[in-house]
Amino acid sequence: MARDDFIIRIGGDTAIGGVISTGENFTTAAARIGFQTFTFRTYPAEIKGGHAWFQVRISNKPIYSIGDGCDILIAFDQEAYELHRPNLNEGGVLIYDSGLVQPDTDSDIICYGVPFQKIAREELEFVRGTNVLILGVMAGLFGLPPASLEEMVKSRYKRRAELMEKNIQALYHGYEYTKKIQKEDKFWLGTADHVARLVMTGNDAITAGALHAGCRYFAGYPITPATDILETMASQLPRFGGVCLQAEDEMASIGSVIGASYAGTKAMTATSGPGFSLMTELMGLASMAEIPIVIVNAQRSGPSTGMPTKLEQSDLFQALYGGHGDFPRIVLAPASVQNCFRISVLAFGLAEKYQCPVILLSDQSLSHRTETIREVDTDVFPVVDRIRPNGTNPEDYLRYQITDNGVSPMAVPGLDPHTYVAPGLEHDERGHPRLTPDTHEKMTAKRFRKLEAARLETDNAELCPRYGAEHADIGIIGWGATQGSIREAVDRALADGLKVAAMHPRVLNPLPEERLKEFIASVDRVLVPEINYQGQFAHHLTATLGVKPIRFNKIGGLPFTPGEIYKKIQEVLVHA
């Protein structure tokens, strides 16, 4: 039987070029005619050279995760073969440049050696066409209609007729070449539904969500893997009357975002761990002066410069607890690329409504992987604007009025005559410095009441979905980008008759305590898989809910696969 859900991995040295773009082109062409895709990529930290790999999982059915290992390995060089051969699943296919790679012979895989570079050089006289030649071979071997790739080549080289011609020639040359190959494998794409889908990265989705939510000011300092948010904002914001600033450092980034928001404009910054550390003093200021801001922290492996191009979920402590003094902040973690859009809109909604910093914690895998998305949903979370002191007499205006939900009206300079000073000092309801014990207690409680109000509106199934068995032997609680792998592992377990359930909250502060408590009560054991060493979320759950979960931690820069989580489920059940 043909396998129509499979994983292609492409590896090679970036000095050769085309590893990532070959994968991207294949993905885009497939998505355009309706296939669903899920990609993953890693880059070397080196500027030039170094090993990179790209992986796409493809199917005509929905897919949620990176999957396990790979089914088809395209090795650009010997290093790629050696690095990824152990991850090639049984019955998998190795496609390699027979001029450059020497695979072992005694293997349980199917090998197709093609002298790609030689063909490009000698038959096509177009060395730069190697990648498109490979695409043609991939199309022929696995059933992607070459017309979809031709479309893409055409649009890519629309203004360079000669290059377009040569690339199309290379594409079909590769496609025809596969007729000479005796196909022994079982991988063949099913029929596409020809529904056009979007291919977006997490960073793309966060940026689109921010623009939709009304963000018109962005400031950032380049840092992997958040840089492309800065770059997209730099090109897009001016088109919609907004401003993007490449700041001199992360303190300036968040400082200017605070200033812009104070002046009435929805504003955001994006960074990764090291930059986020630099922002924490000002994050406290935004919370004290009650200024809505959104901070994206696309986590990477730390501490210090760590492994800057690899993923990790190790900034949770920093997001939840970082900074001096007691101050409320909201922490959100999107669970997929599709979810990034929504959570970005929600981040602005909560920031505006509760006038406090909202941290959107994503990670390197979510930042740069692509997923196919049918459409983004704009109806789940509305666009929200802060309340202003409309109708209040300026003389009586209390910027920091003590209210039940802690929220007080915020005047906009230039528009409202209700002038006030945004204070870093503890202050009375007018905003004037008042450093008495009584004031500090009252005002701290006022600010924290906003979190209680936020909890009431976020402790629900939409933002804390449950999955799997109703009563379970194991209940998995995950956060962030691990959702898809957990979901597929749970599916596998359920299919095998195991009683497993999962919950995946998007709001990590304030925690959806009611739903979590209910979930914990309905399962025998709680398992918390996360990509960090200390078990940061498990710690947070213990501190908040008293639960003592089984921790499942992985570091090293790669995401969980469904198989790893499934194995852990089995292990826990066996030892139970």
């Binding site: 977006m200 689109a208 401003v243 300036a252 200017s256 200021l285 983004v376 002038t419 945004a422």
Partner: protein, 289 residues
């Protein structure tokens, strides 16, 4: 037909005076502090320009001098130590109609916040930065500051300051500030005039004010003796001459050192796409299809 008497009354009532810029909170400064003179000059400058308090934001960091926003009836921001310039930059870029003043001390702007100063100047963000230089850290009680003289003994430098003092005017000139002036807190009328010019100037204006700390480092006698007005025929367009003058140590010159017309950052970024469109999500998403 308009009633002539009513119109006359209305305009009179609309004229803003110094008291309209006072918040009513009494400054918490020590008697004799130079910052009183700077505050009073700021009130007068705003009144001279008839700016509406709702259209003005005074942004500050932390320090005695940075307390200023609380004494003003305008909008204000009293943030954290050293970050007033980025905060003000965000305000101005987001809301170009506002008049933004940055007020702070030599520690706030030349030490902890010094990394932001050259960038604000180079970008030529249209804000007016008034630095109250008392050559000490007033709020934390008399430690050395980046403008303290060599050899100056303080509790944090008991053997004397080893570093060469920073030269704020030179720093501003070297980094592209388009309006650079120096005033003295004991000459509030002249200072008012400098602040008025700074606010009117469409770009980054830096007003360096010698503003003695009466409590911990009383330098009135020194400045009374060493200040000197710039010559009346001073060429404000001559950057090299301004730099040379800023290098002299014998005298402390007062007046406008330099002024240049250069497009401000805010004006430039708003020209990239002069016809700002409404954001249309469906249209935007097409780039991902």
């Amino acid at each position: 037909m308009p009633d002539a008497t009513k119109v006359a009354q209305a305009t009179e009532a609309d004229v803003l005076t110094v008291k309209d810029y006072k918040s009513g909170d009494k400054p918490i400064w020590c008697p004799g502090c130079g910052d009183f003179g700077v505050l009073s000059a700021t009130y007068k400058a705003l009144a001279a320009l008839q700016l509406q308090p709702k259209d003005v934001v005074v942004a500050a960091g932390i320090g005695c001098s940075s307390r200023t926003p609380y004494f003003m009836s305008t909008f204000g921001f009293h943030g954290v130590h050293g970050r007033s310039l980025p905060i003000a930059t965000g305000m101005k870029l987001a809301n170009p109609d506002l008049t933004i003043l940055v007020m702070g001390g030599d520690g706030d702007l030349m030490s902890i916040g010094a990394g932001h100063f050259p960038h604000a100047a180079a970008r030529n963000v249209d804000i007016t930065c008034i630095m109250m230089d008392n050559q000490t850290y007033g709020l934390t009680k008399a430690q050395a500051s980046p403008t303290s003289s060599m050899g100056h003994k303080t509790k944090s430098t008991p053997y004397g300051v080893i570093a060469k003092p920073m030269a704020p005017v030179l720093f501003a000139l070297a980094n592209g500030a388009t309006f650079v002036a120096r005033g003295y807190s004991a000459k509030p009328n002249d200072l008012t005039d400098l602040i008025v010019q700074g606010i009117k100037h469409p770009g980054f204006s830096f007003v360096h004010v010698q503003s003695p700390c009466a409590e911990f480092f009383n330098t009135y006698d020194f400045y009374d003796e060493h200040i000197e007005e710039l010559p009346s025929d001073w060429d404000q367009q001559d950057l090299k001459a301004a730099i040379n003058l800023a290098l002299t140590e014998e005298k402390v010159h007062l007046g406008v050192f330099y002024q240049e017309e250069r497009q401000s950052f805010g004006a430039a970024v708003r020209q990239f796409e002069p016809e700002g469109k409404q954001f249309d999500l469906a249209e935007y998403l097409q780039r991902f299809s």
